[in-house]
């Protein structure tokens, strides 16, 4: 019967692990990809030494090592599942050691710290390093309490403090406290009590030693603030923010282990009936599933869903999954400039930008070519259209500045890759080689780097490359200063120098429409002759009809350009409603939400700015 119980304990952990796995694999995969792109794990001695040479640095190193596997959401979810289940299993093992019993008391409670960490991990601001640190502390505790000899345990206690502090940082305090409490528990009756002098001295010495370590470290290594030495690893992405919430998981762990250990042991070990134990197991399972439902699915998931969507746009844009970007937008139109920029790029890449751009929510020129901001995310995504347009220096600046803005001061593998590309296109082969050197020291970008190395100093090969070749071909030999306020002018210069640069032209047209610059639109429209269109794209037709309507009373066959009858009729209907109603917006929103006219009259894009974006 006891064996059956143990199997059930394990089954409950498996169900928990499976839930974590499915959650991150199916519901939050882009959170994993998001993390992966903002770190650069190098298999070099310098990287190892630099990372581990501070308290908690080892936990950071291990977390960076595992984070690189988040390039695959399947593996990433599996790792998340292992980490969180590992926490639960270790806590449960510690509880059983404390209770010196194999009963299932405390089984359900042992899931709570892992569940709490799961909740934290749904927020991309929580780093894996904290999980690694907690696992190390629990392993250390388990080793300590597994020692049979009383004096061996005490030697272990003092020996483990500096080692664990260096490996895992401030979480060492949890391990020390658990070892001290266990020391008290494990003593024979009347042999040791909380008031025992020896116990008190050892406890105070151990706690004092633990507390003194950050001060000692600060004295010898002045590089970090005392607070950073208290905490150790980077628990949160914004490393300068206090990670205090993370310590709730430590407090909870301590309270559960100690609290459960205080519970009286059952006097008889009378075996339960199979039905009763089965019912008991089912109830435990239901409670666990209910907890997961309320904590994760009802709270953490909806709280972070918007960010998951943004990360999804970012990921698909990075991977050039243009159809997936459009499919996402078909389900729910993106609204913030960063994601709208991904959508517009995807529309261009699939040849639909001028036709379909107003079928989705547009928030002004920022949703086409985002302005640089001192942030790690906006320039990362915002640099994509500039790259494909041929604004290589701008794409390079965005990639570089995004990397330097990563809140935990790591380098970003995605930025490094883009820097290698921009330097390759610009012919700065020495710089490109430097970035490729770095990528060759990674696990998952090594192959790409080795392949890309064959392009160095090989202009003909670059020119034959489908992406890099085109971008290089559209470079201009005239220098001018990039200006965020004159993007249309710059697109115009690019197009002027290369009248076959279709992307520059369509972006110029889109920019003009989004900027509501109807004065210049007809002028730019005349340049359309360089390209073949089966008919004038929809948004252009709508703009032309609108401009025509401003100067003419009737919408008849005298229009100097071919316009679909439906668009003509819609324009007449739209004009009628717009001019006849006092507040036409609700009606027009209902009937013509996907037209340029509605955008022109009712979308105040200046109010949609970066400040409205979710904060990372």
């Amino acid at each position: 019967m006891q064996k059956k119980f143990s199997i059930f304990h394990f089954q409950l952990s498996i169900i928990f692990g499976l839930s974590v796995f499915l959650f991150f694999w199916k519901l939050f995969p882009y959170h994993l990809h998001f993390k992966e792109q903002f770190q650069l794990f190098l298999f070099t001695q310098d990287y190892l030494v630099e990372t581990v040479s501070r308290p908690g640095g080892f936990s950071n190193y291990v977390s960076y090592f595992f984070t690189q596997f988040f390039i695959s959401s399947f593996v990433g979810a599996l790792l998340m599942s292992c980490f969180l289940t590992g926490i639960q299993l270790l806590i449960y093992a510690i509880i059983r050691k404390f209770r010196k019993s194999k009963s299932s008391v405390g089984l359900l409670l042992s899931f709570l710290p892992a569940l709490l960490y799961w909740y934290f991990l749904c927020d991309e601001n929580t780093q894996i390093a904290g999980v690694i640190a907690l696992l190390l502390a629990l392993i250390s505790t388990l080793i300590g309490i597994s020692l049979k000899s009383h004096s061996a345990r005490r030697i272990y206690l003092f020996a483990s403090i500096p080692i664990l502090y260096w490996l895992a940082g401030g979480v060492v305090l949890l391990s020390v406290l658990l070892l001290i409490v266990y020391d008290l528990y494990s003593a024979k009756k009347n042999q040791l009590s909380i008031f025992n002098f020896q116990f008190l001295i050892i406890s105070i010495a151990a706690i004092g030693f633990t507390i003194s370590l950050p001060f000692i470290t600060k004295y010898f290594l002045a590089q970090y603030t005392l607070e950073r030495y208290w905490w150790g690893p980077d628990y949160v992405f914004y490393v300068n923010d206090s990670p205090f919430a993370i310590s709730y998981s430590w407090i909870l762990t301590f309270l559960i282990v100690v609290g459960v250990s205080f519970l009286p042991k059952a006097k008889s070990v009378k075996p339960k009936s199979a039905i009763r134990s089965f019912s008991y197991s089912i109830i435990q399972l239901l409670i666990l599933l209910l907890c997961i439902y309320f904590v994760i699915l009802k709270n953490a998931y909806p709280q972070n869903l918007v960010k998951e969507e943004i990360m999804a746009y970012d990921y698909h844009c990075r991977m050039q999954n243009w159809d997936k970007v459009i499919k996402m937008a078909d389900r729910k139109s993106p609204t913030i400039p960063m994601t709208v920029a991904c959508l517009n790029l995807a529309l261009y890449k699939t040849g639909q930008l001028p036709d379909k751009m107003f079928s989705y929510y547009q928030n002004g020129p920022e949703g086409l070519l985002p302005t640089f901001r001192r942030d790690f995310m906006i320039p990362t995504v915002g640099g994509e259209p500039y790259f494909y347009l041929g604004f290589v220096n701008t794409a390079q600046r965005f990639a570089f500045e995004a990397m330097e803005s990563i809140p935990d001061y790591q380098k970003g593998v995605r930025s490094i890759k883009r820097l290698a590309e921009t330097n390759l296109i610009n012919g700065n082969y020495e710089a490109a080689a430097k970035y490729l050197n770095l990528l060759e020291k990674t696990l998952f970008y090594k192959k790409w780097a080795k392949d890309t190395r064959t392009y160095l100093y090989n202009d003909a090969k670059i020119e034959a490359h489908p992406t890099w070749g085109e971008i290089r071909r559209f470079q201009i030999d005239e220098d001018f200063m990039f200006s965020d306020k004159e993007k249309d002018m710059m697109l115009g210069i690019f197009f002027q120098r290369h009248p076959d640069n279709r992307m520059a032209y369509e972006y110029l047209m889109a920019y003009t429409l989004l900027d509501k610059d109807i004065r210049n639109f007809p002028i730019y429209f005349q340049l359309k002759k360089n390209f073949t269109y089966s008919e004038i794209p929809k948004s252009w037709q709508e703009a032309l009809v609108y401009i025509w309507g401003l100067q003419h009373d009737v919408m008849d066959d005298s229009l100097p350009f071919p316009v679909r009858n439906t668009i003509k009729q819609n324009a007449i209907d739209y004009a009628r409603i717009y001019t006849s109603m006092e507040s036409p917006e609700p009606t027009l929103r209902k009937q013509f939400p996907k037209t340029y006219w509605y955008y022109l009259h009712f979308r105040d894009f200046k109010q949609t700015n970066a400040e409205q974006m979710p904060q990372y």
């Binding site: 190098l42 990287y47 002045a222 220096n393 701008t394 600046r397 990397m403 330097e404 220098d479 200063m481």
Partner: protein
């Protein structure tokens, strides 16, 4: 019998060792110099420099022989040579003033190659023992991990003396000393609690070097040898971004003036000759004796439209340290006012007052991002140019600083990749002849491959700095901000 078996077994076990060492007897002689990295081929080095560890890319094993007048040493390594520090030091001391021959053999793709030997001239003139620099990613507007570091160039020890982690990630400008004296120095520390940090014999002060009537903070500066005065330019700095692939960033000033700060009396000294809107004045520095101020100046133009016409000349003005007043006329040392001329920046006179080093770019005032920037030198006694083309490269060579004996100078060069500046040392012999420069040696010769940091404004100093990162943290967080009159 048992022993014979054992020997046989040992020989059998050692066979792969013989095999893996290759047949050095059959090594191929290559009649060319080895392409070692860093490039330490045929250079002049000071006798007190740290070991010049290097690698030969693609090799699996390397063997070198150093042959001097007194001794001959052999070193081997896998993929790289890392000299033992003690033997290196002893050898260089013994070979002071001599040429030593360096022979390199390397195993590449299983075969040993012997290259044509090259030489190192061990100069009797020591280089200043320490080097300060700012470590920063060569970005545009955003900075990440800024650190001010002090490296002992006689070994590999590095001390961070101002760290972003301790200073709310505030921006820091480079650390400048008075005549390479570590006891008189300053750097600007920006941020909410920042100020100009002045070090005088280890006593730190935090000073607000911007007064109400100044249009911008103090930017580029230098200290008087006495430590009493600092000369600064106050600049409105504008960054702009090029679109042409060969260029990156342009930084220019829309206004800039010079001022001297009397740190003993916390007062500002100005002169109408070096301020006003008609001209832009920048990059000031004191002469070694403190009696003159050198600076760069250009007529104000409409910027950025006329940026390519912006050319700075090198000028000087007297400074009376006793009275604390500027002189009443300006001398022009290098005139760049003609249309076909170039632009001068960052003048630095040698401590013995004999030479003046400066940067020359096609135009503008921010040489670090001008690929064409080269170092130039004039003999201040004769006024003639001295040819130092040997030290320049295809990428920008800028931000130089002299060793206190005026025999060595350090500068930041982007010669490897165009982006990441590294400190290079060059020797100027008694005849004023420049020798081929070499990069600051690192313990691991692959260090420069994987670092994403630029070494900004390397400054040689003749001793250790008398303060630490904790001192800077303390004055940043708790120090009183002094104001100027």
């Amino acid at each position: 019998m048992k022993n014979v078996k054992l020997y046989r077994w040992l020989l059998w076990m050692m066979f792969p060792l013989f095999f893996s060492c290759g047949n050095k007897g059959q090594e191929l002689f290559v009649d060319e110099l080895p392409s070692i990295y860093p490039d330490y081929v045929n250079i002049t080095i000071p006798y007190n420099i740290a070991p010049l560890n290097f690698t030969l890319r693609n090799c699996t094993h390397i063997e070198i022989t150093l042959k001097g007048n007194t001794d001959s040493l052999r070193f081997t390594g896998k993929r790289k040579i890392q000299f033992p520090e003690k033997r290196w030091k002893k050898f260089l001391q013994a070979e002071k003033g001599n040429n030593i021959t360096v022979s390199v053999k390397a195993k590449i793709n299983g075969n040993w190659f012997a290259y044509r030997p090259f030489e190192w001239l061990i100069s009797k003139d020591a280089i200043d023992s320490h080097l300060t620099y700012r470590l920063i990613e060569p970005g545009y507007e955003v900075w990440d991990k800024i650190q001010l570091c002090e490296r002992n160039v006689e070994n590999f020890s590095v001390k961070v003396f101002a760290d972003y982690n301790l200073l709310d990630n505030s921006c820091m400008n480079c650390h400048i000393t008075a005549n390479q004296n570590p006891n008189i120095s300053f750097f600007h520390l920006r941020g909410e609690k920042g100020g100009t940090i002045l070090n005088k014999d280890g006593k730190l002060r935090k000073i607000n070097t911007r007064t109400g009537d100044m249009f911008a903070s103090s930017t580029y500066g230098n200290l008087h040898p006495s430590g009493r005065y600092g000369v600064f330019s106050s600049n409105i700095v504008i960054p702009q971004f090029h679109t042409l692939s060969s260029t990156k960033l342009e930084v220019y000033d829309t206004e800039s003036d010079l001022l001297v700060i009397d740190f003993d009396n916390n007062r500002i000294i100005r002169s109408p000759l070096v301020s006003g809107k008609e001209n832009l004045e920048t990059f000031p520095c004191f002469s070694a004796d403190g009696k003159r101020i050198y600076f760069c100046t250009a007529p104000a133009l409409s910027l950025p439209d006329s940026i390519q016409q912006l050319r700075y000349s090198l000028c000087s003005i007297d400074f009376d340290a006793d009275q604390g007043v500027f002189g009443n006329h300006i001398d022009t040392l290098v005139n760049m006012s003609s249309a076909d001329s170039k632009s001068v920046s960052f003048p630095r006179p040698s401590p013995d007052g004999r030479f003046m080093l400066y940067c020359v770019s096609d135009y503008g005032t921010f040489p670090i991002w001008h690929r064409e920037t080269d170092l130039m030198m004039i003999d201040l006694e004769s006024g003639k140019n001295v040819d130092i083309s040997k030290v320049n490269s295809d990428y920008s060579d800028t931000y130089h600083s002299w060793s206190s004996n005026s025999r060595w100078f350090v500068f930041a060069s982007k010669r490897d990749d165009g982006y990441y500046g590294k400190p290079y040392f060059a020797y100027i012999d008694e005849d004023g002849k420049a020798h081929k420069p070499f990069v600051l040696p690192q313990r691991d010769p692959y260090y420069y491959d994987y670092t994403l940091k630029s070494f900004n404004i390397p400054e040689l100093i003749n001793g250790k700095l008398p303060f630490s990162a904790s001192d800077i943290e303390r004055i940043y967080k708790e120090g009183n901000l002094e104001t100027l009159k």
